[in-house]
């Protein structure tokens, strides 16, 4: 791994973010709107629901964590799409950069984009609704790590599709997370799902992450087994994502799509 090249490619995206104030505003705007919306819904539920009445802001915390996942995946996709939109794809792939360096650069830069959007929303939730995700305590780091890994994995799968099918796959990029959201049990416990879907849901890390979040906030119990399971599943999917990315790249070289993907 040549970190100078990773830094070089990351710089490309930092310069892009830095060059445009509306771009930064756009990164902050959507997560903040989400927090306002879910903040009021959460407030209503805490006042009206017996399930949630002991813990203020469980739904809002779930919304923040889900937004973190959403932003990390979208950030990854967006940076890859930027190369296609700017017709820079060929220049990038003929430069002496390894695929793993491209993945590393996008992964590292995606966290910056994600934090630009999420941190203001997290901070906003404290004075506005009296909700702080920091109440989760140290396990929050592990939950965020799992979410980030899974978000990047979804980004890798979408970028693999972009390499394989070209820019027409772009719409899938936006839809990918909404497809998994119902199975993720973000706002409700897994028992709500039909039994057969519960089995499917359990092979995703999301269920374990959001169940654990509720476990900590509502029952004040930390299950390290569940936290570890979420990380292991996320790492497994990440490895699958990287493998599929490499396979797509090899396939694109056979089909010759790398040379004119922006056109």
């Amino acid at each position: 791994m040549n970190w100078n090249k990773v830094y070089g490619l990351s710089l490309r995206h930092f310069y892009l973010i830095k060059s445009s104030f509306p771009r930064i505003l756009d990164l902050i705007y959507w997560p903040s709107i989400q927090i306002f919306l879910w903040g009021f819904i959460s407030k209503f539920f805490t006042l009206s629901s017996s399930y949630y009445n002991n813990t203020v802001g469980v739904i809002l915390s779930a919304a923040i964590l889900y937004d973190f996942l959403f932003r990390s995946s979208i950030s990854y996709n967006m940076m890859f799409l930027e190369e296609i939109w700017s017709r820079n794809f060929t220049n990038l792939f003929i430069s002496p950069i390894k695929l793993k360096e491209i993945i590393a650069a996008l992964t590292l830069t995606a966290i910056v984009r994600t934090l630009i959007g999420t941190v203001p929303a997290v901070l906003l939730a404290i004075p506005m609704f009296g909700v702080s995700i920091f109440k989760i305590g140290l396990p929050l780091i592990s939950l965020l790590l799992s979410l980030y890994l899974f978000g990047i994995t979804l980004g890798l799968l979408v970028t693999s599709g972009l390499i394989r099918f070209g820019p027409s796959f772009e719409n899938i990029a936006w839809a990918s997370l909404f497809f998994l959201a119902p199975l993720g049990c973000i706002y409700y416990p897994i028992e709500i799902l039909p039994e057969w879907l519960q089995i499917t849901a359990k092979i995703l890390p999301l269920v374990h992450i959001f169940e654990e979040m509720r476990n900590i906030l509502i029952n004040d119990i930390i299950s390290y087994t569940q936290i570890l399971l979420a990380i292991v599943i996320s790492v497994f999917y990440f490895i699958v994502g990287v493998t599929i990315f490499y396979i797509s790249y090899a396939g694109a070289k056979i089909r010759g799509t790398l040379i004119n993907i922006g056109e």
Binding site: Y15, L16, I94, P96, K253
Partner: protein
């Protein structure tokens, strides 16, 4: 650095884009790659740059198969410029050169950016966003990017397409001067026959994926009984029997 292409073929399903071609680029040579649109030039360049996997045949770099060499090491000695491939538009010229300098592992990068900007007169717009430049300026920036790593082999795809005669002449003159001062081999794909006559030591003519003729510009003009390379190109492109 020398490139040898042996029995190279590329099939996309049933369509043969490149059909068993053989050629070499000698050390320090400028080789022209000519042919009508869709004849396989871009696919050939794509294979040489490692972007397209050949269906058959091999590409030898200094006698060693491309696939057996360290991809990154080889690509750090190559570069490519084409008006059809752009640099990120929202980044300044300097930022783009800095990024590609880092990707190519250029040492003393600031100094190299200064040198190349000075050579190609980029100074006036080096801090402007690439998307705000004129075609001529963009073209020079693209050339600067392609030379940032002082490549040993440079691939140029229609480097002066859509440029006015003055800027076109500036670019051609610059390539000539650069080549005289640096040890570099060039593969030039172009539809501008005057440019090919001026820059190329030798040309290969492609048609329907095959190489149909090769030689120096003068030898081809003479062989086909024409007055210039443009007429020679037209004769070859329009003659159905030339493939036989």
């Amino acid at each position: 650095m020398k490139i040898e292409v042996k029995n190279l073929e590329k099939k996309f399903k049933d369509f043969t884009a490149v059909d068993n071609i053989n050629f070499f680029i000698k050390d320090g040579q400028t080789l022209g790659l000519l042919g009508p649109n869709g004849c396989g030039k871009t696919t050939t360049i794509g294979m040489l740059l490692g972007l397209i996997k050949p269906s058959k045949g091999e590409i030898l770099i200094d006698g060693i198969n491309f696939d057996e060499l360290n991809r990154e090491k080889i690509l750090s000695k190559f570069n490519f410029a084409s008006p059809y491939v752009e640099l990120p538009k929202k980044l300044t010229v300097k930022q783009n050169l800095e990024i590609y300098g880092r990707l190519y592992g250029v040492k003393n990068l600031s100094q190299r950016i200064y040198e190349i900007s000075d050579d190609l007169n980029l100074g006036l717009f080096i801090n402007k966003k690439t998307g705000e430049l004129s075609s001529g300026q963009k073209n020079r920036v693209s050339l600067a990017k392609s030379l940032i790593n002082k490549p040993e082999i440079l691939f140029l795809d229609e480097p002066t397409a859509s440029l006015d005669p003055d800027i076109g002449d500036f670019v051609r003159k610059y390539i000539e001067e650069y080549k005289s001062k640096n040890k570099i081999s060039i593969l030039l794909a172009s539809h501008n026959m005057k440019e090919v006559e001026r820059l190329c030591d030798e040309v290969i003519m492609m048609k329907e994926g095959k190489i149909v003729d090769r030689g120096t510009c003068n030898s081809l003009i003479e062989k086909h009984g024409r007055n210039n390379l443009e007429d020679t190109f037209l004769k070859i492109a329009r003659n159905k029997n030339e493939l036989e």
